[in-house]
Amino acid sequence: MALKNKIEIMILGIAALLTFIGIYLAFLYAPTHVAMGDVQRIFYFHVASAWVSYLAFGITLIGSLLYLKTKTMKWDMLAHASAEIGVVFCTVAIITGALWAKDVWGTFWRWEDMKLFMTLVLWLIFVAYLALRANSLPGKKRANISAVFGIIGFLCVPLSFAANRIWSHFHPTVIATSEGSLQDSMVLTLVVAVFAFTFVYLFLLKLKINLENMRENIEEIKQQIGDMNG
């Protein structure tokens, strides 16, 4: 228990430290982008949260597969916890992306941009995944069906990637992009931001799993009390 706590505190410490450094780097250290101006600074947080959401959904897939293979509830718990955090980061990524796009491209959304599209697909699928869990009772059955849905949802990613290529071929590109290359200091800032967000994710994941374990324990104790009275 003590060791576990130490690891947790370490993760929290690293996450906090990196976040502060990241904020400093993004707002003060990194130079203003030549073409896009100050709004480009949103990019560091945008990319970092998009990365974390992909990571989180990937962990959900792994959790779902391992659950179906082993039928151990802890994998189901991992899949669920990771999906919940992933949706939060994905929402952040979509909103920051839209704000950035409004300034740079003059529009909130571009359907023909593959990255935007795939992120939206993932977001919708995992919101549906959470809705599925919210609408069923805890237990093996819920673990089974959510694992199945998580797997199909993930299968859908490469499929919609292919579908979108045919679709965008049909829809003409409206606005041309101009991104400009990144300077070294910008790359450094981005790397720090990505690491900071990853550690925040790890910390939240640990927290969520601890919470679920505690809930399990409480139910267990309640049951024992019931047995003693009976």
Binding site: P138, E220, N229
Partner: protein, 239 residues
């Protein structure tokens, strides 16, 4: 020589945190009419579903016909008949069509002859082509029994078979059970009603709090007394 058809060793089953079956042991031999009594909430239906391979047990071992229940599910299912308070019948299909459908699922040989024979046995041959929707509760229950024994199973589970039946239908049901038993079929019946189930049983027990508390007691008065005592105790616990 007794021949074990079903043996269950320390079966446990929980739904969420609710422990429904606790370390339950049970053996059923060929030719038994084993009647298990228990109040609502004692875990009767869950026990049925676990024993009949419908739900997996959390722990413990179930052997049916000498096979492990997780490993040979389909072979075991082919030898089991199951009649529950749900009839498993399609309202929009006729009696014949329902049996025909299940006969296909169980790959019954000589389908037409067998369906005709079984419909006559439960006294529904004259209603073969009526939709189940138009049947009374008792008729549906009889058809449900016909469905359960259609594929000539070795072991037949009956879950609360008497609920919703009038006296005459109960008698018909009991006679059918005895008749099939004479042909060597084994029955496992679960009910809460001592008056209806006790007389046909040749083995019986009481299920309370997820485990079998009394096994084999053939004196009815004695048995009723014990059963009522257990029901009273359970009622006290609940309050």
């Amino acid at each position: 020589m007794t021949h074990e058809i079903l043996s269950a060793r320390s079966i446990t089953k929980s739904f969420g945190h609710d422990r429904v079956l606790r370390e339950l042991d049970l053996t059923i031999n060929k030719g038994d009419i084993y009647v298990l009594f228990g109040s609502n909430g004692a875990g009767k239906t869950t026990l049925m579903k676990v024993l009949s391979t419908l739900h997996p047990a959390d722990s413990g071992e179930i052997m049916l016909f000498g096979m492990k229940s997780e490993e040979n599910v389909r072979d075991i299912r082919a030898k089991i008949g199951f009649m529950s308070h749900e009839t498993f019948l399609y309202d929009d299909l006729s009696a014949w069509e329902n049996l025909n459908f299940y006969a296909d699922l169980y790959s019954v040989h000589n389908k037409k002859k067998r369906i005709k024979e079984i419909l006559k046995m439960v006294g529904l041959y004259h209603r073969s082509h009526d939709k189940v929707r138009s049947f009374s509760r008792g008729m549906a229950q009889r058809l449900s029994l016909a469905r359960a024994v259609l594929h000539d199973p070795e072991l037949i589970f009956l879950d609360e078979p008497y609920s919703g039946l009038d006296l005459r239908a109960q008698e018909v049901l009991n006679n059918l059970v005895i008749e099939l038993n004479k042909k060597g079929k084994t029955f496992f019946i679960i009910t809460h009603d001592i008056e209806k189930g006790f007389d046909i049983s040749n083995r019986n027990g009481i299920l309370s709090n997820g485990t079998i508390v009394i096994d084999k007691e053939l004196d009815k008065a004695n048995f009723s007394e014990k059963y009522n005592e257990i029901l009273r105790r359970e009622a006290d616990e609940r309050n």
